[in-house]
């Protein structure tokens, strides 16, 4: 079976400091990979390298493109990479305002990716947008409201709708539940889990919240100081942590 994403020895340095280094893994279709670690451990750097938003200093990120099979997205030319960015890839930012156009209505936000790949029928675009708002539990009468009038949780769900509307195969998520209160988090996670299963999405989720990966991720990668210190199945890593840092991380979770 061909992996959807094949990461080989990715390294990114900020001057003498290590962003992340020596990261390799394969991601298969339908698989959800979690990346956990403390602040500054390099998980966001890694995610940005994978999603083509940062250029890694070494290594290869091969993506299984529809037309030509595995292609290295690092050496791919920019138009192709940006094309992937609005068709087969999706990127969910931690802060919804980074991923949304705040001065454009909810419907326009969802429709943008459709129009970017050539949709030119207003009625169809609007129907698709309304359908997607419904799927992320935003009522259809909010379709013409701007995201500024939405709550944090709704903005995050809108961002997810906007990203998934073109049926991507790989979703990058950077702390998708960051800054939301627990009950809103729970609903969002429930929604994400449903969508991932339903659309058979592959996803890479960066978070520092172990509960999120427990719920969503099949596999887990633990990072510290730019290195991957432990990988394995999520339950295995969380229930039987081997590396000292992972043990610390797991034991640091507050129990209610």
């Amino acid at each position: 079976m061909t992996p959807l994403l094949q990461v080989e020895d990715i390294a990114k340095f900020y001057g003498h400091r290590i962003g992340c280094t020596g990261v390799s893994f394969d991601l298969f279709p339908g698989e959800v990979m979690g990346i956990v670690g403390e602040s500054g451990s390099g998980k966001s750097t890694l995610l940005n390298c994978l999603a083509g938003q940062l250029t890694p200093d070494a290594g290869a990120v091969r993506f299984d493109t529809r037309a030509e099979g595995l292609r290295d997205t690092v050496t791919m030319n920019e138009p192709e990479r940006r094309m992937l960015g609005r068709t087969d890839w999706a990127f969910v930012h931690q802060h919804a305002r980074d991923g949304l156009r705040m001065n454009v209505s909810a419907g326009g936000n969802v429709g943008e990716r459709l129009m970017a790949i050539g949709a030119r029928h207003y009625g169809d675009i609007r129907a698709e947008a309304t359908d997607w708002l419904d799927r992320v539990e935003i009522s259809a009468d909010r379709v013409d409201d701007r995201p500024t009038t939405f709550s944090g949780g709704m903005q995050q769900r809108l961002q997810i709708a906007r990203n998934l509307v073109t049926g991507p195969r790989l979703v990058f998520m950077d702390e998708p539940t960051g800054g939301l209160d627990v009950s809103v988090q729970a609903r969002l996670l429930d929604l994400l889990r449903g969508l991932v299963r339903e659309m058979n999405l592959s996803a890479i989720i960066v978070t520092h919240d172990l509960a999120v990966v427990r719920l969503l991720a099949d596999r887990l990668m633990v990072m510290k100081d730019g290195y991957v210190v432990e990988t394995g199945l999520t339950d295995q890593v969380l229930d039987d942590p081997q590396h000292a840092y992972t043990q610390l991380l797991v034991s640091s979770v507050l129990q209610v």
Partner: protein, 289 residues
């Protein structure tokens, strides 16, 4: 004897602007950066158009300036006088007689010919500006032909107003490649952008020049189910009776009285000279104010 170099600008500057114009003509719709000079008028009064006109004028040219279609507004009169003084070219108000026409916000009603040049004054040349504030990003979008965002604006129009409410500066795609802002002309004029004359666009403050060569394909952007429609006031000209021209609405008293008249003054007076009279018009006389 004038103390100015011909057409105000020095020869090196005019060469620099001509190079930008030629590049613009070679890549229709592409915004060519140029080293815009300070002109003896404020930005927003047509400094871009004046520089382009200065670069294309020759001593044999006949020059016409219109502002919103009119030959006799402050902006048009001062620019016309400027070139009368600095270039001593002949000036005219008759569209057909002019070889170079500088315009603000209108295209003349009558068809232009192959021997004419139309120079537009452009305030903001970047059609994507109000959607994407970053110049780096908009340039990248132009170079990679990523124009989905332009349709987001039209989508927003329909979702808010039920129709594409953009009435001026309506975005067009030139020769199937570059999306271009046709300057704030009413969308009524958009179909006329495919013409026999050379069209040059100058934006002084933003330091950009772009161009549409003669007979170039210019398509107004739209949706399949909301096609582009050129619109005008649903009325006939009250002075000359024309039903096919773009109209200005004029409030004439405090009791709600109003009249519509052609925004193109030359078109209107030519028709009145030929004997056409509108609903509130009086027959044309040479010495009428």
């Amino acid at each position: 004897m004038s103390d100015y170099n011909f057409a105000y600008l020095d020869e090196q500057t005019k060469r620099m602007i001509r190079r930008a114009i030629l590049k613009g003509l070679a890549i229709p719709g592409y915004q060519v950066p140029f080293a815009s000079r300070e002109m003896p008028m404020p930005y927003g009064w047509g400094t871009g158009g004046v520089q382009v006109s200065a670069a294309v004028l020759t001593p044999d040219d006949t020059f016409k300036v219109i502002d919103q279609g009119a030959d006799d507004t402050t902006n048009a009169v001062s620019i016309r006088r400027f070139f009368e003084k600095t270039a001593q070219v002949k000036t005219t108000e008759t569209t057909r007689d002019a070889s170079v026409i500088q315009t603000r916000h209108r295209i003349p009603e009558g068809d232009l010919g192959e021997d004419q040049i139309l120079v537009y004054q452009v305030p903001i040349p970047e059609p994507l500006r109000f959607l994407e504030p970053s110049e780096v990003e908009t340039r990248k979008m132009h170079s990679l032909e990523e124009y989905g965002l332009m349709h987001v604006k039209l989508y927003e129009d329909i979702s808010q107003h039920g129709a594409i409410a953009t009435a001026y500066a309506y975005p067009v795609k030139v020769e199937g490649r570059y999306v271009m802002d046709p300057s704030p002309i009413p969308k009524f004029d958009n179909p006329k952008l495919e013409m026999a004359a050379i069209q040059l666009f100058g934006a002084g403050r933003e330091q950009r020049i772009y161009a549409i060569p003669p007979y170039t394909q210019v398509v107004s952007l739209d949706f399949d189910d909301f096609p582009f429609e050129p619109t005008k006031a649903d009325h006939a000209c009250d002075l000359c009776g024309a039903t096919d021209s773009y109209l200005d609405e004029l409030i004439v008293d405090d009791a709600g009285g109003r009249m519509f008249m052609c925004s193109d003054t030359d078109y209107c007076s030519t028709r009145r000279k030929a004997g056409h009279v509108g609903a509130q018009g009086v027959p044309y006389s040479e010495d009428a104010a």
